[in-house]
Amino acid sequence: MKPIATTRSSMGIATGKLAVWWVLVSEIVIFGGLLASYVMNRLAHVEWGDQAAHTNTWAGAFNTFVLLTSSLSAVLAHQAAEKGDGPKAARFLYMTCLGGLVFLVVKGFEWAHEIQAGFVIQSGGFWGYYYTAAGLHGFHVLAGMAVMIWVASSAKKNQDLHRVENVGLYWHFVDIVWIFLFPLLYIAK
């Protein structure tokens, strides 16, 4: 028996969607705090630029492309869900997950390469932020993929289609965080 409270909508916005937006608010300040700390420190330490030069800009650019493309399929999944086509929405969600997977694999190669070259999280200023910020973001990618598989498995059966949009909102946020991380960690040399 579901409480009546869960079905009400005094604001006219679906409860789930409203909650996702508040989750995003809290996520924005988490990444905001971390990135603001990084930027302030970076401005005070010109020499961090030399360290940043060791990151692989091309791999980062490729990942940006992959992640943006995966957001496109998240939008297409939403569109399919709006039309009530659950199986199609699920297929697009799986495609989005595939994008996330490619992103993480590329990231893994990058990190392996950097660690082999001796740049680890203990290597001081820049590298601490590099691994922490990208790691926290990667963790969000992973969490988003897990939720997406769960949403897709019920969307396939045409159940809870409103969740397709909610998980899409989250995925776009993860995307946007990367759009901040990429220039800050890779391009700014």
Binding site: W22, V23, V25, V29
Partner: protein
Amino acid sequence: MSNQHDAHDHHAGAHAHHDEGWFKKYFWSTDHKIIGFQYMFTGMLLALVGAFMAYVFRMQLAFPGQAVPGWGLVSPGQYNMLITNHGSIMIFWVAMPVLIAGFGNYIIPLMIGADDMVFPRLNRLSYQLFFISVLLLIASLLVQNGGFGGAWTAYPPLSANKDFNLTPLGSTLWLLAVAVEFVAFLLGGINFIVTAMNARAPGMKAFDVPIVVWTIVIASILFMASVGPLVAGAVMLLFDQTLGTSFFNPNKGGDPILWQHLFWFFGHPEVYVVLLPAMGIVAEVMTVFARKKLFAYKTVIYTIIATGVLSFFVWAHHQFVAGIDPRMANVFTVTTVLISIPIAEMCFVYIATLYGGSIRLTTPMLWALAFMAEFMLGGVTGIYLGSSGADIFFHDTYFVVAHFHYTFFPIAIIAVMSGVTYWFPKMFGRHLNEFWGKVHFWGTIIPFNGIFIPLFILGAAGEHRRIFDYHSFPHLATPELQAMRVFATVSLVVMLAFQPVFIVNYLVSMFRGKKADKNPWKANTLEWTADSPPPHGNWPELPNCYRGPYEYSVEGRELDYWPQNEKA
């Protein structure tokens, strides 16, 4: 913990209408009232732990070097552990769970006319995470080398470097406990905000929502918007402790002041996160027992919002002596003094509400009035500390300690007591004994002032915080100053001696008290239209709302109250 769950069993056992097992009903429940009780009782039990810690270190300060009854000799390391965890427990595991999570869970759905929160299972998860954080905290006190002793603010390098704090495991567990607790409150906060936005009774507009619901929701938003940087900071500190990164390590290019910014960017809004719900509870109690409409309802709401916004721009007043740019100190002095305007305005509004009312001095009303009086002392002394010039002298003295206890004690104890005694008939269907309620009130309020007024004087005389034994400082070890320390400690012991009065009164009234009807205080808000105590689902049929919450003593009406659900 077993006491807490026993308590659930007795008061709610007879009323829950679904026949699930005992475990499922009290440990695994998604009912907002049970979860509210879980938070409230856990918080109250931890308050006893925090109070015991205060007793031990106050005894050490009054009678240094002597064995403390119930503890034994206090070592310097233990002393640091005690003050650190007293602060952490009272803020993170008492004020937050009782005021926001406890009252928020219990009263938000009842006051907005809903049968539960909008995410009942998320709510349960929130308490379970909170419970894990309690276990982590307790574990941090029991591990080898003892609990964390670097103050509740956990400034690096002391908190980051195990060669300095000497408690590697205790520090890490403490930090994890705080981080897990933040996650629990983020989940709970999202639930409160969305519930109040979306699950209101038909007809209840935003300006028909009682003040206390507004304050808890705005406090949850403040928490959510301020805690993020500290969550990131906690991860960074955890890496500094365990992986050997150098975010806050100045030897390797890190910046210890960065932690202070991250901490206080959360830490100061946190004051308002707990203050606002306390102000909300007091508003409810005052209107009911003054039998008057709340003065300037909408202004109060705008004031709450203004307080919330301003609270994000005052944090560096905790760092005036940390080497920040003096020009920045000027800016933060101005914003700090500015924030006293909305708070003072709230106090004036409450006084205006009382003015001309037919005041009933019940136990909850006494607590509410005491909140105003004591909190104002805390607020006014804050002006000295917020002014950067004066703060250079006062910083890290007992003046600061007395100041924030004059704010936090009214918030976490006085306002909570006001709420606990006010909603007691609703929670348990019986009246709290008024006589013993008042004995406990006077036995708490008078010694409270006895503890902290001497600390103001000691602080102004230059007594520094965080000193284990003043004998090492001859100018602070004079007989006059020591006499004041003894007076404060004796007052604390007297105050603690009165707390069993409350505990016994609470438990006895719960089972033997006079039966309460649905609306014993003749109040307007919707929770008083449900049965006392409300069953699972709260109402057989959910109420509609037709008017604002404070229509008391309306002219031309026979009754001096006008419940929100009455059509005409």
